[in-house]
Amino acid sequence: MTQTLFFLLGMAVVMVIIAGAGIFWAIKNGQFDDMEGPAQRILMDDDDPRIPRYADSKLKK
């Protein structure tokens, strides 16, 4: 019983350290800099320009 508890508590501490490291990494990478933009950006279709201007001009050459 106590051994299981030891193991579980140890796991909890390890998990906290991993999660903490993850959050620190995210903060350092600026993932919390803009809290509203990404939610809005996902709604825009980015990957299909109707008239790819520069691709077009390259074709003509």
Partner: protein, 802 residues
């Protein structure tokens, strides 16, 4: 203005009759209100970005045509001397800069800018921050120049200004990252410790082996360590600083409670008896850290928005050399240079007036916003704002930082001021802290005398349960929530007291031009009086207006392409009358009827009331009459009705003539109005209202409104207004939507109500909990729950404002 009027597909302003600017969008011709909007829409469509129109949720500002002069000005940004202050060198040719984007109204605007810039060759990276409207752009200087990037942004109908990110922003980012790390630590620990605490509480209720309980306690101790030794550090610093300054602040009892609870818990854990408070410590730290973080970020948002408004760097000046006007960077100015200062703009350097007469606002220096008259020979200071007429100046000394220093001072004011009620709460909390510490000592002594074993526990419970954090959070939480709610709707609070005063307003005073109306005269009709057709007359008039600074000039120029403008010889500006000049050898004049010398009897009778008539004449007779009028903003009438229904008096003060003012007043439904008011008359009227006991809110936009805005109890400036108006006002309507004034008023009322509830709750809770804690009747777990719940109630109540 009727509702059936056509509106511009791009900016939703009414399309003036007779205008014909079409752009095919999604294979359908759409009508635009002016050439500027047409140009912007065409750019958007040509770049395959028409999706913007489908995704946008708010209307952009009116489109502007990119004029050659502006482009020439932009070229200055390529100057290495200017770039030094805001461009970072990333590699040999790779540069990075931060830009403030003006005119962003919704997420689609950001998409539009990012997408368009990314298509340009030479752009390496573009990222626009939705919250701050700032863009970070990396480019290859061999392939593209900064001026080109700025020009492309202008083509889309936005304005971009470089700004110096190094200074405040990196500091702010560092602090934010630090705060987030502390919150993350506190949150992770609190979660784990709470879980173990549940086991301990359950064990206390249903029985638990002593060894298991000891193990759980040791585990909690380890998980609490990072909170006590890292996350809670700011509280210790703040308390220590306060004690050094012989003051008591909220953080003193907070620190006492955390340190005391931790020391007590460690003692209990190592002795295997007594109570532990690890769950209370971690929860408490988490709540306090997060609420302070929220408060901070709301404050910083408004600082950032204010900075965006007050952008000035890099400052430009107009140097006069041999009669030619050259825009130059301020840092290139030398002593003895002649510079031109236009009304409404900040003066670039300390200088002496050599020509012209005007008044300047030296509020940056004196803190008092009032016009100071300047004549030839008078000295003007860098950063002061020219109010009335153009001045020719001789530079006496150059200091590149003077202007910026002034701006920083303005900003400090915005941040430093706390609302009066919040100050009151701080003071009350201070007294409360003193009382609490004294009481805790007395109670501790009493328990020590009666029952020494329970003294420590009781004092600790008292400190924890009565922690004044609910009291200290009551006001800031409400203001932060209200502020961010308003900012999301485009209302920026620049001074702390704004909301509080807004709640008391009983009289709203409006300026007319630019506030109730668009402030942009629109050419509504052309009546031809001779053989020349409308288009030809328009081309002549626009050509004559090219050189004019008069606000009416823009209404002609926006209707015609630059290619159609004819060169004008011998252009003359006759102040108060009009302009004249020779085109293709023939002499024309454009101006008021007084200039034409003709009777107005020949005109058709159905001209709109209150409109301005401009006559185009050649040497012999009148060729055409242009009917120009300024439209009422569509929300003006509704706003006035709402105010009347709420029992708020409404008055309009305008510098314009009686005819135009009475016309607009009837249209907006305002009964009380005064025309032909000079700024000092407006101020006198305002004082009169105030003496009658009214709390006056002033809404204005112009340079002439600045002293009046400063004199009102609370002042509101339109976002498009001049810099002076925005700087001297308490609230800035970035949204340009008049109904937002009503929203600000309502939010003011709501936040005062919430704040009162919060204060009442915090005081009642503390007064109720204190005697029980002192009597030793509150067990530790209840103390920590009570503390957390009392703060949570305050924060959640404030969140209702969002």
């Amino acid at each position: 203005m009727s509702s059936t009027e056509k509106t511009c597909y791009h900016c939703a302003l009414p399309v003036p009759p007779g205008a014909h600017y079409l752009v095919d969008i999604d294979s359908e011709p759409r009508e635009m209100c002016c050439r500027g909007c047409q140009a912007v829409a065409q750019t958007i469509v040509d770049n395959g970005l028409a999706d913007y129109y489908r995704h946008r949720t708010a209307m952009p500002a009116v489109g502007q045509e990119v004029v050659p002069e502006e482009v020439q000005k932009l070229a200055l940004y390529d100057h290495p001397g200017i770039q030094k202050s805001f461009v970072r060198q990333e590699g040999e040719h790779v540069r990075e800069a931060s830009l403030i984007l003006e005119g962003i109204t919704c997420a689609a605007c950001i998409w539009l800018n990012e997408r368009h810039l990314k298509q340009l060759p030479g752009i390496l990276q573009v990222q626009v921050n939705y919250a701050t409207h700032r863009a970070r752009i990396t480019w290859d200087d061999q392939a593209i120049h900064l001026s080109k990037i700025l020009e492309e942004i202008q083509l889309l109908g936005y304005n971009a200004h470089p700004f110096n990110a190094e200074r405040q922003e990196s500091l702010r980012r560092q602090r934010k990252a630090k705060d987030l790390r502390r919150i993350a630590i506190a949150g992770l620990s609190a979660g784990q410790v709470m879980m173990l605490a549940v086991a301990l509480y359950a064990g206390a209720a249903f029985g638990i082996e002593a060894s298991t309980a000891a193990l759980l306690r040791w585990a909690s101790l380890i998980l609490t360590l990072p909170v006590v030794f890292y996350a809670a550090l700011p509280f210790y610093y703040s308390a220590w600083n306060a004690l050094l300054g012989r003051r008591l602040n909220m953080d003193v009892p907070v620190t006492l409670a955390i340190v005391g609870a931790f020391v007590g818990s460690v003692w209990s854990t190592s002795h295997g008896s007594g109570v532990v408070y690890y769950d209370a410590i971690t929860m408490f730290s988490l709540f306090l850290l997060s609420s302070r973080f929220l408060e901070h970020s709301a404050q910083e948002k408004s600082v950032e928005a204010t900075e965006n408004l007050l952008k000035l760097a890099p400052a430009m000046a107009v140097r006069v050399e041999n009669g030619q006007h050259l825009p130059v960077p301020v840092m290139e100015l030398n002593e003895g240079d002649a510079i031109l200062s236009k009304p409404g703009e900040a003066i670039a350097a300390d200088a002496e007036v050599i020509e012209g007469e005007s008044a300047v606002d030296e509020a940056l220096l004196t803190g008092e916003s009032r016009p100071v008259p300047k004549r030839v020979g008078a000295r003007v200071i860098a950063g002061s704002i020219n109010l009335e007429g153009p001045l020719l100046l001789r530079v006496t000394s150059v200091g590149e930082n003077t202007v910026l220093a002034g701006i920083v001072r303005l900003l400090d004011r915005a941040v430093a001021e706390k609302p009066r009620l919040a100050q009151l709460a701080d003071r009350v909390a201070g007294h409360f802290t003193v009382g609490l510490l004294v009481l805790a000592a007395v109670v501790g002594a009493a328990w020590w005398w009666q029952e020494p074993g329970r003294a420590f526990e009781t004092v600790l419970a008292m400190l924890v349960v009565t922690c004044p954090c609910a009291l200290s959070l009551a006001a800031p939480a409400a203001f932060a929530a209200a502020g961010s709610h308003l900012l999301r709707h485009g209302i920026l609070l620049t001074r702390g007291h704004a909301l509080e005063t807004m709640a008391k307003v009983s009289h709203v005073v409006f300026d007319k031009t630019g506030t109730l109306t668009y402030g942009k005269p629109v050419l509504r009709r052309i009546v031809t009086l001779a053989e020349l057709d409308e288009q030809r007359c328009l081309a002549l008039a626009a050509s004559l207006e090219q050189a004019s600074e008069h606000p009416l000039a823009q209404s002609f120029l926006s209707r015609i392409a630059h290619s159609e403008l004819a060169p004008v010889q011998d252009a003359r500006n006759l102040p108060g009358k009009g302009v004249s000049g020779a085109i293709a050898g023939l002499r024309y004049s454009l101006g008021s009827s007084a200039m034409s010398g003709l009777p107005s009897a020949e005109l058709p009778s159905d001209l709109p009331e209150g409109a301005t008539l401009v006559w185009l004449c050649d040497a012999q007779h009148a060729l055409a009459v242009f009917v120009i009028s300024d439209g009422l903003r569509p929300q003006a009438r509704e706003l006035v009705e709402q105010f009347k229904a709420a029992g708020v008096r409404v008055t309009m003060l305008s510098g314009d003539a009686v005819d135009a003012v009475s016309h607009i007043a009837t249209e907006a439904g305002i009964e009380s109005w005064h025309a032909a008011q000079r700024p000092e008359d407006k101020l006198a009227k305002l004082r009169e209202f105030q003496q009658r006991g009214d709390v006056v809110a002033m809404v204005g936009d112009g340079v002439n409104d600045a002293p009046v805005l400063a004199g009102a109890d609370v002042s509101i400036a339109m976002g498009s207004g001049t810099q002076v108006a925005r700087a001297s006002s308490d609230i800035v309507l970035l949204s340009e939507n008049l109904l937002d004034i009503q929203r600000a008023l309502q939010t003011g009322h709501a936040s005062m109500a919430v704040m009162r509830q919060n204060l009442a709750w915090a005081i009642v809770y503390n007064l109720l909990a204190l005697p029980f804690a002192a009597a030793g009747m509150i067990p530790p777990w209840l103390a920590s729950i009570g503390m957390s719940v009392s703060s949570l109630v305050v924060v959640l109540n404030a969140m209702r404002l969002r």
